[in-house]
């Protein structure tokens, strides 16, 4: 997988995704509408990377565990508790920028 250009195809065919806490992985998965379990590697703890995963978990969009609790999580998970992830709104940015630079 390290050498694939895009995981988009695999993502579309998946029913469940188990991923590290990288933002790209999390967001792409959520945007595809797939249930996601984020596995935190405490030894590689890059605090900045965890911020997004933690927030997504707080907002109910992902399940969260570490390597040792993964099996347990898979056995007891209830994916119906996951909330859908609304898309971002670049139109809001465009509106803001138009005003800021004086194009109105």
């Amino acid at each position: 997988f390290r050498f694939k250009d895009s995981l988009a195809e695999d993502l579309r065919r998946a029913d469940l995704v188990i991923s590290h806490a990288g933002a790209g992985s999390c967001l792409e998965t959520l945007e595809e509408g797939k249930p996601l379990i984020v596995v935190i590697n405490e030894k590689l703890m890059n605090n900045h990377q965890l911020e997004l995963a933690k927030q997504l978990h707080r907002d109910g969009h992902v399940l969260y565990c570490n390597c040792s609790t993964l099996v347990e999580t898979l056995q007891s998970m209830d994916l119906s508790t996951l909330k859908p992830f609304p898309p971002g709104q670049p139109e809001k940015f465009a509106l803001f920028l138009d005003k800021a630079v004086g194009f109105e």
Binding site: G88, Q89, L97
Partner: protein, 168 residues
């Protein structure tokens, strides 16, 4: 990769008034060029006069590079960016956090101070930044005209920032 994806999403809803677009990449970046060309190609299908350029500058800092050596490499990148920024004379600089943006913005600020060209600097912090700012963000918070964050905790910590919700 993440920064490029985000910035292209930010560009997706902008009108053709934001043209020509000049992309500046780090010399070591291998993936962004293809994404940018693909984006611009699609754009050219809708807007016939769509124009863009692509330039590369030396990467100002590798991840986890030490402070002292980062100062040297960043300074080198700033000096390298000056003639490029002078040539492009941008009206607006849009950036979202890779180290590459700091030398470009600083060179634009210098050009402004010298009375040669004043650019509006708009910084959008990455969606990954929920509670803390990136290093580029911490620097450009003070030097940008508009500093946009995507999570409310950052708006609280950085009151001069703009919060529009998730925009990518």
């Amino acid at each position: 990769g993440g920064h490029t994806t985000e910035i292209l999403r930010l560009l997706s809803c902008l009108s053709e008034s934001y043209s020509p677009r000049h992309y500046i990449l780090a010399d070591s970046d291998k993936m962004s060029e293809a994404k940018i060309r693909s984006f611009e190609q699609k754009r050219a299908e809708t807007f016939s006069n769509s124009q863009f350029t692509l330039d590369r500058i030396p990467r100002s800092r590798e991840v986890r590079q030490s402070w002292t050596s980062s100062m040297v490499t960043t300074l080198y990148s700033i000096l390298y960016s000056l003639p490029l920024t002078y040539k492009l004379k941008p009206d607006l600089i849009l950036c979202n956090g890779p180290g590459t943006c700091v030398p470009v913005c600083i060179s634009a600020l210098l050009l402004g101070l010298l009375g040669l060209k004043r650019a509006i600097i708009v910084y959008v912090e990455s969606i990954c930044r929920v509670e803390t700012l990136s290093l580029s963000g911490k620097i450009l918070y003070y030097f940008s005209d508009y500093f946009i964050v995507q999570w409310p905790a950052l708006k609280e910590k950085y009151p001069k920032s703009v919060f529009l919700g998730r925009i990518v």
